[in-house]
Amino acid sequence: MANTRRKNRIVAALLFTVAGGMVGMAFAAVPLYQWFCQITGFAGTTNVARAPAAAVRPSTKTITVRFDANVDRDLPWRFQPEQSEITVHASEPTLAFYKAANGSDRAITGTATFNVSPHKAGVYFSKIDCFCFTEQRLAAGEEAEMTVQFFVDPGIFEDPNTKELTAITLSYTFFRVPGSDGKNAVQSAAPRPRRPIKG
C-alpha cells in the first residue's frame, strides 16, 4: 500500500513537471518565435546587415522594391513614402525616404513595425540602416524625413521559391509609444466614421 502510494507520488511529480515544462515552452515560444522569424525570414521578417559582402558586385538582375506606409489611429501623424517604388540591382545599397509629420499640438514619440511582402522575400532583404531601429520623436507640427538604407541579396534570384518575383513591398506601420506625450496608456481608438447598419 505504501509502495503504491509512493509510486503514485513519483509519477504524479513527473507529470506535474511535464505540465510545468509545457507552460515554460509557451513562454519560450515568444523569443523562440522571434529568433525563428529572424533566421528564416518567416512572415516577411527582414535582416539587419552592415553592408553587402564585399566580394559580391552589384548584379545585372533587378527587382522592384515598393514602399508602403501605415499609421495607427492613435498616432496623429502623417506618414508617407517619398517614392512609390525603386528598381534596384541585387547587392546594391539603396537609400529610400519616408516623410513623417506630427499634425498635433504636442510632441509625440512613435515607433515603427515593418515587414516585407511576399513574406518569403524577407530573408533576402537586409537593412543597413533604418529609422525603424529607433524610436522617433517629433515636436508639435514638426516634419521629418526618415531614411532606410537596404539591399536585396542576389540569392533571391537563385532560390526556386523566390526567383519568379518581380516586386517586393516594404511596409511600415507607425505606432505611438505610450506615455511619450503625457498620456498614460494606449487610449481607446479615436472615434471612427460610423454608418448605421440597420434598415
Partner: protein, 271 residues
Amino acid sequence: MLGVLFTTGGALASGRAEPWQMWFQPAASPVMERILEFHNIIFVIEVGIVALVLGLLCYVVIRFNAKANPVPSTTTHNTLLEVIWTGIPMLILIVIAVPSLKLLYYADRFEKAEMTLKITGNQWYWTYTYPDRGGFKFDSFLVPDNELKKGQPRLLTVDNPVILPAGTNIRLLFTSADVIHDWAIPSLGLKLDAVQGRINESWVHINAEGDYYGMCSELCGVNHGFMPIHIKAVSKDAFAAWVEKAKKNFAAADGDARVRRAEAGPGAAAR
C-alpha cells in the same frame, strides 16, 4: 443543378450566392477555377467513402443482427484486411495531396502584376488605396437596408465599390487599422487576413467584367457581419478613365486617411 455542379466557370458569373444554392458560386478567376477542379476530385472521394461505410453498415445491420446470425464468430484479426485498409487510404491521400499542393502553390505565385490594390480593414468598413495610381484612397461602407435602391442586394451593397480592371494580374496587399479582418470573395477564390502591423499579400486575376461580392471573414466586433466587399470589374479602358476621375475625387493633398464619399464611378450608382 448537376450541370452547374461540375462546371468550372458558369456562363452566368453571378458573383454572389443564389437562393437555395448548394454549390460554389461560379468561378470568376483562374484560382477559383482550379479550386473547383480540385474539389471535384475531393468530392468524388468523399462521397465514395461515405457510401462505402454506409453500405457496409447497412449490410452488417441486416446480415448480422441477432436473429439473422445467432452465433457470433470469434475473428479478431485478418492481417491482409488490416494492410488493405491502411494502405488504400494512404494511396488515396497521396492522390489528394499532389493536386492539393499544386493548387496551393498556384494560388501563392503569380506572374508580373500590372497594378496593386491595397486593402485596409477597419471596424467596420474597408479602405481601398491605389498606390501606383497616385495613392488615392477611399472608404467603402455597407449601405443600410433603408437606403438601398431597387435591386441592390441587402447586406452586400456598398457606397463605394472597388473598381478593378478585368483580365489583369493585380497584386493585393492587406493590412488592418485595428483588429484582424479578412477580405474574402468566394467567386474569385480569394481570402486573406488583414492584420495590423503587417502586410499580407495575394493576387487576383478577374476573368470577366461584372460584380463580385464578399463579406468580412474574421470576427472583428459587433458589425462584423456588416462590412461587405463589392468589386466592380470593368474593361481596362474604363478603368483608366475611372482612375483619372477618382484621382480628383479622392486624392487628399496631405495623404490623411479621411473618409471620401463616392462621386460617380463607372456604374457606381447602379446595382
